[in-house]
Assembly symmetry: C2
Homo-oligomer: 197 residues x 2
């Protein structure tokens, strides 16, 4: 994804940093950086009774046909899920595969009464595009924000990505072209640690 | 500030919402939405020994001349601070005034190893502009991010605001014009609460 956005030179994520940032927060999901994982399976998913306190109920859809997963997805083994909805399945027999994800964190805007979610990244693996999974992931975020009584969902989009902008506008989003991203990082940020005034 | 940015129509903040969003979080400052207040006084500020656990030490500058505050600031009483650095001063004799603020919240970017701060808004009251207070507020945020071991500070800037963009670039920031803001809120967000698929 960083390559697609031409941002490989700023990419510093490691498996450890991802683990620390997503799973070691003392805050519950959606009150700290949180990933929603899009999983697919040729078998029906169990309609489990979730008794979590995180205010999130997994969204299960059965209207897809994944009988020929091996033909569709040539990296199937790489993306085999170790989590089958009941907990970790270390037997590696879990017939569930990761097809995409979305990453959000709680946000705030001083002009709004209620806090929100910032959608940091959304990704669907290439072989699963055109199946409305982007819509599914985006809807899951918007539904969650609404359910938690939040006032907004914010995200950034590249101006050359017309198809994506159209997609978001169809979902009801406001595209605000005049707001541009500024970012301080690396040496320029570290320099502030050495300044005395 | 919302008027200046042409965003009065989306402004829904109330005193209560501001209080709830900024002061009722179970998380410490900078781990939830946090405001830094720029206060000025004709008297020297006390160099107090701060024993807070919030990892923030107030920045005190004495190289300003505010002997004629009443002439400079015609809304002085409105902005008299009730907080004098030692706690609330209900006697209303506190000779300290609010000149500006900056609002931040913790952010995350999946391409970066370390989390960061998102700078939501920065404001210096009109009569205090041109005194490098913007630089002071921005530096305070960058220094705090660096001190907390964060990897970035992100914010948005209006593309027509050339002076501000130049200011940020001089501070070492990267201006990334291709990233534009998308925002889902109001009726369009609420619609997702009613959707079943």
């Amino acid at each position: 994804m960083a390559e697609y956005h031409g941002l490989s030179q700023i990419f510093t994520t490691t498996e450890t940093s991802l683990y620390n940032n997503l799973f070691k927060s003392p805050n519950p999901p959606f009150h700290s950086p949180t990933a929603l994982i899009l999983e697919i399976s040729p078998n029906p998913f169990p309609q489990t009774n979730h008794t979590t306190t995180t205010n999130f109920v997994p969204i299960i859809k059965n209207n897809y046909n994944f009988d020929n997963l091996e033909i569709l997805d040539h990296e199937l083994e790489t993306y085999r899920s170790k989590f089958n909805g009941h907990g970790h399945d270390n037997s590696n027999n879990c017939n569930v595969y990761v097809a995409g994800h979305v990453l959000v964190y709680p946000s705030y805007n001083g002009f709004f009464e209620k806090p929100g979610l910032f959608l940091d990244q959304m990704f669907v693996r290439k072989c699963y595009r055109g199946m409305k999974f982007g819509k599914l992931l985006f809807s899951a975020v918007a539904m969650q924000a609404e359910k938690m009584g939040m006032g907004m969902v914010d995200w950034l989009v590249a101006d050359w990505n017309e198809e994506t902008i159209n997609f978001y506008e169809k979902m009801g989003a406001h595209y605000i072209p005049e707001y541009r991203l500024c970012k301080l990082y690396g040496d320029q940020l570290q320099a502030f640690g050495k300044k005395s005034d």
